[in-house]
Symmetry: C2
């Protein structure tokens, strides 16, 4: 599978190459800056749950993985404009380097290239990827709508992360299954794994933002509170009478770093972190259960390992 991921890199660079030098450079910026390629990895592993064990993934699987990764990168370009981010994966973000205008267009360009790849894989994949793009936007819009809303509900949070994170991971797995021609029940199980994994993944990410140090996280922690994004641990602790009033009083725009740190402390004290960990574990269990009927192949093992790794991140900082 390592070899297949290298093929993804080569294919990504081939796909983003444009007739215009500048666009090739801009579009290739984050592609060449790398990343964990979680989504292409899922696509390849999903395709490998029945077939081609030991042999290379069919090129269609590599291309399916590239399509989901390009949607991911394209949406990161737009995210960075939205957040005013200055770095991404350790390099200057597109918008910081070339301005918002080019970041928007380069993101659109990558979405277009992703849709081209998907179209070549058939109408089902093309439709699925397109729907996923709309779900991503919906999740992000829902998040924007709830900024600085201390009354954000569990359901609102869940709908938002389902769209912004979970949908693309589910689609990565599903496309792998579809292009590998796996049986429908297997494809559905793979989707369900990706969806549940995505939910757990985002909840873990949100917990880490509350509990981890900058060093543990490798980037500034506590950012969500500064940006007014109140995630699951905070939502849960707002329901705890012991901390609720003080915590709520801190949740306003223009929160200072001291207030932010006190809010993180209160979120821990209110028990929200523990409850959020339970929610992440429940999603993780669900992801594992989705794979239970699958044969014991390299692909299934890779997906299971990803699930375990997820909770491992959490244990390292608790």
């Amino acid at each position: 599978m390592q070899d297949d991921l290298l093929r993804v890199e080569a294919e990504l660079l081939r796909v983003v190459a444009a007739t215009d030098d500048f666009l090739t450079e801009v579009a290739g910026h984050l592609v060449s800056a790398g990343g964990k390629r979680v989504r292409p990895g899922f696509c390849i592993a999903a395709a490998a749950v029945h077939d081609f064990e030991g042999s290379a993934a069919p090129i269609e699987v590599i291309r399916g993985g590239c399509a989901v990764e390009l949607v991911h990168i394209g949406s990161l370009y737009h995210d960075d404009v939205i957040d005013g981010a200055t770095t991404r994966r350790g390099v200057k973000s597109i918008n910081a380097k070339w301005g918002n205008l080019r970041a928007i267009l380069a993101g659109d360009y990558l979405l277009g290239r992703a849709s081209e790849l998907a179209a070549a894989l058939g109408t089902e994949v093309a439709g699925l990827l397109a729907t996923t793009i709309t779900e991503l936007c919906t999740g992000q819009i829902l998040e924007l709508e709830s900024v600085h809303n201390a009354d954000r509900t569990f359901e609102q949070y869940q709908r938002s992360i389902s769209g912004k994170t979970s949908s693309l991971l589910a689609t990565s797995c599903r496309i792998g299954g579809i292009v590998a021609g796996l049986p429908r029940p297997t494809i559905d199980a793979l989707s369900e794994f990706g969806r549940a994994y995505g939910m757990a993944f985002q909840i873990v990410d949100d917990i880490l933002d509350v509990v981890a140090t900058d060093e543990q996280l490798g980037k500034p922690a506590g950012n969500d509170l500064l940006e007014g994004i109140y995630t699951l641990p905070v939502i849960y602790s707002l329901g705890d009478p012991g901390v609720s009033a003080e915590l709520r009083s801190l949740l306003h725009s223009g929160i200072s770093v001291e207030e932010r740190d006190r809010a993180r402390e209160l979120t821990r004290l209110g028990g929200g972190v523990e409850l959020a960990v339970e929610a992440a574990e429940a999603w993780s269990d669900r992801a594992g259960a989705a794979l239970s009927g699958l044969p014991d192949t390299t692909g299934a093992a890779a997906l299971r390992a990803a699930g375990h790794h997820l909770l491992g991140r959490l244990n390292a900082v608790r």
Copy 2:
């Protein structure tokens, strides 16, 4: 065909409806604000060059028209962010009303919905629409790259407008032909018409920005020069020794309204407007020629009428 355009409106509203109220509102903003629906009109007319004369267009044709229109509107949302536009089609632009962040996401959402519609029409249409999105971005990037460049060449200008305007009009016609199941040579002729029409359309638009009054244009004229976008009439007049030096001296960022008006005057004096009109006429002839082999149907007549109308706009202000 008027009835078919009403069906386009209904379908557009159906397609942009989201589970989220806000997104439905934002996405529907420019859809409900209307527009000439040139692209769906071309799609419907193209589909009608052989078939269904007098009867309603098949629903696939309506959906193909909606797909191209949604790409158009989505790209307008992003354009408005790029330009910092405050109005569009007489109503507040998305970015002015709800901020850049939502305008970016709403644009992405519409591109996703457009790709969904295209996927349901088959892999050829899905691939074509995706490629067109990348061409649109490329054209816009090329334009951005040439801002305030008084050495912009005819070829650079042509490549830019080919991507930003002509490609989507060609695709509108092509999709109409594909989904109507027309013969390949007819489909190619329709594409060629759309491409040539698109070139003429943009050149006319660029000429009007130089020669028309605000009243004639229905919006502020002379905007391109303010934004540093040097279009065909200006490029041609920069080649005229009589005005070249003075015109060039005016082409800088921070150009005043007086300088702008002098630059418009010099562009006329240098003969660039006449040369650009000739270029538009040549593209318009090419568009007409592309239709010459087609039967004399309502669809073909509608496309021809669009071509004539184009040059009519020009004659009204010369």
